[in-house]
């Protein structure tokens, strides 16, 4: 991936990620998250994962975040903006996160494989990478059982949501 584009999208993604955390207004948080996810999708494209990028946008930006926004608006959270941050929690949380980031950097410094440049792909001439087909093949042959389990999980989740959101639990 081009370093310029990588830098741009990585920076935007992290910046909007920070904005998710620091924004008091939940709607602003949610929209920042959407932008962050879109940048993430761009990074996926840079990694030649077109399918994952599309699914990221369709599922996260198109469905999950709309759902978030929908709920935030429905609940009408006005009190949140007036709340004061707990200074101790802020300090502690920031400290733990910084420690974690430092650790990541430290570990990565000792990870020799991490310094390899982009490996080139060997593709037949006149053909682009058909990742959909490959992912599909992998999913439906090697990972059939997990796929089934995920299917059942979604069914359970659907039923669960319907039960939870019924007004009176009987």
């Amino acid at each position: 991936m081009n370093p310029l584009l990588f830098g741009l999208f990585a920076f935007l993604m992290l910046a909007f990620g920070v904005s998710v955390v620091v924004n008091r207004n939940p709607v602003a948080s949610a929209l920042s998250l959407v932008v962050s996810f879109l940048c993430l999708a761009a990074l996926y494209v840079g990694l030649d994962a077109y399918l994952i990028a599309s699914v990221q946008v369709v599922v996260y930006a198109g469905a999950v975040m709309v759902l978030f926004l929908f709920i935030i608006m429905l609940l009408d959270l006005k009190a949140e903006e007036r709340r004061k941050f707990n200074k101790l929690a802020v300090g502690g949380g920031a400290l733990v996160s910084l420690a974690f980031a430092a650790q990541v950097i430290g570990v990565l410094g000792k990870f020799p494989k991490g310094n390899q440049p982009f490996p080139t792909l060997k593709l037949p001439p006149d053909e682009t990478l058909n990742d959909i087909q490959k992912v599909g093949e992998s999913m439906f042959s090697q990972h059939t059982l997990p796929l089934q389990i995920v299917g059942v999980l979604i069914l359970v989740a659907t039923i669960g949501v319907i039960v939870i959101s019924k007004r009176e639990l009987k």
Binding site: P3, V21, L40, L75, S97, L121, K134, S138, L153, A157
Partner: protein
């Protein structure tokens, strides 16, 4: 200057740290939930990066990692649906989405 795997892992780690920080210091359930999503996506980014940098003998990326990402996204979507339903139910009962206001186990 070339982009190596470490760059991706670093960005992924930072994104995770940001999400983690959000979970620790925000008190609004919905924001916490969003930060969780952020963390999941950080993991996804590492996975996709690993996939791309692990080119197999056939000259193609290792798609197993991408399948895993696919599963993660699916599970995350299901989790969001259930989680938001719970939040709505909670809000109906308590009129708040603030974790500090929800201290009792049973209501």
């Amino acid at each position: 200057m070339t982009i190596t795997l470490n760059y991706y892992l670093l960005v992924s780690g930072l994104l995770f740290a940001i999400g983690f920080a959000g979970v620790l210091l925000r008190r609004n359930i919905i924001t916490i939930f969003m930060c969780l999503e952020l963390m999941l996506n950080a993991a996804n980014l590492s996975l996709v990066a690993f996939s791309r940098f692990n080119v197999g003998p056939d000259g193609l990326p290792n798609f197993n990692a991408q399948v895993l990402v696919f599963f993660i996204i699916t599970v995350a979507a299901a989790e969001v649906a259930v989680g938001l339903a719970i939040i709505v139910a909670l809000f109906r009962a308590r009129q708040t989405t603030h974790v500090e206001d929800i201290a009792s186990l049973k209501f």
